[in-house]
Subunit: 273 residues, 2 copies
DNA sequence: CGATTCCTTGAAGGTTGTCAACGTTGGTGG
DNA sequence: CCACCAACGTTGACAACCTTCAAGGAATCG
């Protein structure tokens, strides 16, 4: 623990960097995940129909925490315009409302996109309590950072790609997230967003979303019909989304280390052609 | 302090809502803030010139935490396009790199926009350590949520407003943030972003930013020249930004409760005409 | 003083939004 | 079972917004 011993190790750590140092942190985070899992395991489950708003139903307190067990949901913001912007889409396994400490009212702006089952941890100061334990705090921080990264990604996509690129990003994104949780195995998935929703998510009009989807279809890149997405040409989709070309030594980022999947093991979707 | 007395107060708390219940949490968070302040007080200060990238200079570890003491900085993302999207702008007083736990390398994508002074807390597992204390964890969570809210706001603005609206949002935003920290008192402030940066921040081209700025000037709404912003017609600026009209009982949101300002007291800018 | 970066302006063309109309689907009640 | 309705999807024409290309002016720094 002396200053000198740490310095002596510095160069070694430099070379090993992440793997070793992270491994102990990983264990701590995993403990946090297990703890939160256990909490949600015994939690009251709530069912919402498509179109219902979280917090409107049920006497939920302002700082409840949710975990989406099945179904999709989204968070939105409204402008006096009567426009609506969708800022995040939640998939099965996602946590919702971790920012609840700083809300005044119950979650008003989260919408069920399908029939949805949510586990709810209610309580007056639940977050404060959870943050009292280091491993929980680490896990919650990790979850908040994940959410931030999703938003940053969407923001980048919207502010620097055209409609085609944004659509490609979105389709790819859902694919990766679903795959990482073992919710799909092939390049097809059901996506309950309506074209209206897609427009609100990507900052486009319904009409234009429709046009671009058609062009993606006619170019045999991707297919969306009846809530079902099929990726036909992954490589071109990635190009459109502005992702870097794959080199031989490319290692896809591990995106979902700490979200429990149906099956443990690898967590990156097959990206090869 | 008995359970019954708290229950008896429940209905009263309902009416007062936030103030009372939050007050104890506020104290905890404030302890966290003081703790972090103290940490940064003794921290090494680093100086960067405009255009320099954080983490490039100095042997900073991957999970260092920064606090911007003076100057502006921004965080960006790059696309293979060779395009660049600015996803957040940091003002004096802001913390940078709290998501560092989950980075592999030192902060590469934060750029000094001016001459910048940053206090740095370096160390192998500094975040893990900080999260071990409840009040720190609460404060850090609060900071992460603030950052998320900024991003959400920007995202909403970009995805549902035209260029005029986005510019208005940005000008208003900086105004509010600077005002809340007592860094300005009037409706004028210096803003070191170049029009190129503004374009990258709002998803527009330089040329168009220039044109829209000109139109805002000729409509006597706002003025930007030589890194100096002057808000001429606050009410119209707010309308453009899509903010709700002010009603008589409108209470502006308190945005910056826990960031130390030059002076304690109120923290919402004057919004009246 | 040159060189670089930033700002400014015009003209042309592409992308996206608006408006309007119609087709399709799914649910509901007679 | 059919008629109806509402929500969603689809298509065309046109206008508005924004980008691209190009070139010149202004400011800043060595």
């Amino acid at each position: 623990m002396t200053k000198t011993s740490r310095c002596a190790l510095a160069s070694v750590q430099e070379m090993l960097t992440a793997p070793t140092r992270q491994s102990e942190m990983r264990l701590t985070i995993l403990r946090g995940r297990q703890h939160l899992e256990a909490r949600f395991g015994t939690a009251a489950a709530l069912t919402l129909r498509a179109g219902e708003v979280f917090g409107a139903a049920g006497g939920l307190r302002s700082d409840a925490i949710y975990r989406l067990q099945t179904g999709w949901a989204c968070q939105y913001r409204e402008l006096p315009n009567s426009r609506r912007a969708i800022i995040d889409v939640y998939l099965p396994g996602d946590f919702i409302g971790l920012d609840g400490l700083f809300r005044a009212r119950p979650l008003e702006n989260v919408l069920a996109l399908t029939l949805v089952e949510v586990a709810t941890i209610d309580g007056d100061k639940i977050l404060t309590e959870l943050l009292g334990c280091q491993s929980n705090a680490l896990y919650i921080t990790w979850l908040l950072v994940r959410r931030q990264q999703r938003t940053d990604h969407l923001l980048t996509s919207i502010s620097s790609l055209d409609a085609r690129g944004r659509l490609a990003t979105m389709l790819l994104d859902f694919y990766k997230r679903l795959y990482a949780r073992k919710l799909i195995a092939a390049r097809t998935y059901t996506m309950p967003l309506t074209q209206q929703h897609i427009g609100q998510y990507l900052g486009l009009t319904v009409v234009h979303v429709n046009r671009v989807l058609r062009s993606l279809r006619s170019d045999r890149i991707a297919l969306l019909e009846k809530n079902s997405v099929t990726i036909l040409d992954l490589e071109r989709l990635r190009q459109l989304a502005g992702e870097r070309e794959m080199s031989s030594n490319y290692r896809p980022p591990v995106v979902d280390q700490f979200t429990p999947a149906k099956d443990t093991g690898f967590s990156s979707p097959p990206m090869g052609s």
